[in-house]
């Protein structure tokens, strides 16, 4: 979350992604960085135990959200 905010502030387009288990800590971190309205993408938990195919499916699922935050046409 911090990396995403710092990259944005440095002028580098970035989107933070976390699993839904970290929604509240992620929002707390954004508030700690003075960016309470920071938009990011969440996906279902867990992530670490997924295989290659499941990871690919996650990418497909979240990509529209990533592109929307970046301000690109999907």
């Amino acid at each position: 979350m911090a990396d995403g905010i710092l990259l944005e502030r440095a002028g580098v387009p970035a989107v933070s992604i976390c699993t839904d288990s970290f929604l509240a800590p992620a929002q707390a971190m954004a508030e700690a960085y003075g960016f309470p309205g920071y938009e990011f993408v969440t996906m279902p938990h867990p992530l670490a135990s997924l295989d290659d195919e499941q990871i690919q499916a996650r990418v497909t699922d979240v990509l529209p959200g990533v592109l929307r935050i970046l301000g690109l046409e999907s």
Partner: protein, 388 residues
């Protein structure tokens, strides 16, 4: 209104019980709880005049930073450390120990780098040595990890409340611990120097035994070792090494531990001519797992970048250091004898000891920090820190 007696067996005389307004006391307690300024237990209300009693016991400026977390843009000052020590129930004379604890945690290094926010769920753990133990009533004997002693209970709690209030590390928010540990309420022990056959921890690492010192660590758990069955030092040391090397603890390539020996176990080793470094060396050499045991739990290789353990078949896996050494089938779980510290604490009444699982690979001298004498010079950090 008179305070109600709290013990069983009738009402004892209460000639010295203070007169108090219970409604006002409860209102103060609720005030702190409503603001999230507690660990879930009631705290002691702090006024500027009470705070001044704490600040009078250090020569440091109230605005001095005792720990910073740059990634949160937050810092704990001497003033905030004092407020949270008072909230925790410390007496003012405990405050120099609390300040030394913060300084040791900074020198230890993991806490400022966000480990207290991790899902791992670590807690600060403090070992206190020297004359200050007796001066402020720190328990080093029976029930040393347990309840019952104000100095132990509140000095450890002062750090937790500082984490909550100075850094905002509240559970479900910036503290993401999956389960945490009971040590997150408080974890502060004193070494039982009087019943130890060996030099105390702070003297082992360069301070004078007449100094008082705090050595802070970040821990994951405390494991109980019940060993009343043997008087053979190698058997007892292997029992301890087997506990240190449990696979569930082996998250990184190597791990570390603090062994807390009861006086009875310490004497068993000392009678055989072992010192603390000998026990550390033995545990280093014998805290091992076979390659097959690690493969059975999927921890026989490490990740390329993080060096966390994972199965050899994982696409990100690389061989661990043991693969490059002479005996690849025997994997040491410690990187050196220095990754195991030894202290003596607890009652001299049974063969019961503990392994405290400290976070990180470690090795090298621990962050032993001298407790400043409030009447003496403030000193520089180099003067107060054994490892300089």
């Amino acid at each position: 209104m008179e305070i109600t007696a709290v013990t069983s067996g009738g009402t004892p005389p209460q000639d010295d019980a203070p007169l108090a307004d219970p409604a006002e006391i409860r209102r103060a307690m609720e005030y702190y709880a409503d603001r999230g300024w507690t660990d879930g237990l009631p705290v002691v209300p702090v006024t500027e005049s009470y705070l001044a009693e704490f600040l009078a016991l250090t020569r440091r400026d109230p605005d001095d930073v005792v720990m910073a977390m740059p990634h949160l843009n937050r810092r704990c000052t001497v003033r905030l450390a004092a407020i949270n020590a008072a909230l925790a129930g410390c007496r003012p004379e405990y405050f120099p120990v609390v300040l030394a604890a913060w300084e040791s945690l900074v020198a230890e290094g993991y806490a400022p780098r966000a480990i207290w926010q991790s899902t791992t769920g670590t807690a600060p753990f403090l070992v206190v040595n020297g004359p200050v133990r007796e001066r402020i009533g720190l328990n080093s004997q029976g029930n040393v990890f347990g309840s019952g002693f104000r100095a132990n209970a509140t000095i450890g709690r002062a750090i937790r409340l500082g984490a909550i209030n100075a850094f905002g590390l509240r559970p479900h928010q910036l503290d993401q611990a999956t389960q945490g540990t009971p040590a997150k309420y408080t974890a502060c022990i004193a070494e039982n120097e009087e019943q130890s056959p060996w030099p105390p921890l702070h003297a082992q690492f360069g301070l004078d035994p007449s100094d008082s010192a705090v050595t802070a660590m970040v821990i994951r758990s405390c494991l109980h070792i019940e060993a009343r069955h043997t008087v053979v030092p190698e058997q007892l040391a292997l029992d301890i090494a087997g506990t240190v090397s449990r696979t569930g603890a082996l998250i990184h390539e190597t791990i570390s531990a603090l062994v807390v020996l009861s006086p009875e176990h310490a004497r068993l080793f000392a009678r055989a001519g072992w010192g603390k470094p000998d026990l550390s060396q033995f545990i280093y050499e014998h805290a091992v797992r076979s390659r097959a045991e690690l493969a059975a739990v999927g921890k026989d290789a490490i990740a390329r970048q993080t060096r966390w353990r994972l199965p050899a078949g994982h696409p990100d896996s690389v061989p661990d250091q043991a693969q490059a050494d002479g005996d690849p089938d025997t994997v040491r779980v410690l990187n050196s004898a220095g990754a195991v510290l030894v202290v003596v604490a607890g009652a001299d009444n049974a063969g019961v000891s503990a392994v405290v699982e400290t976070f990180g690979p470690r090795g090298g001298p621990p962050p032993v920090v001298r407790v400043a004498d409030p009447a003496g010079p403030a000193g520089t950090r180099q003067e107060r820190t054994a490892r300089g």
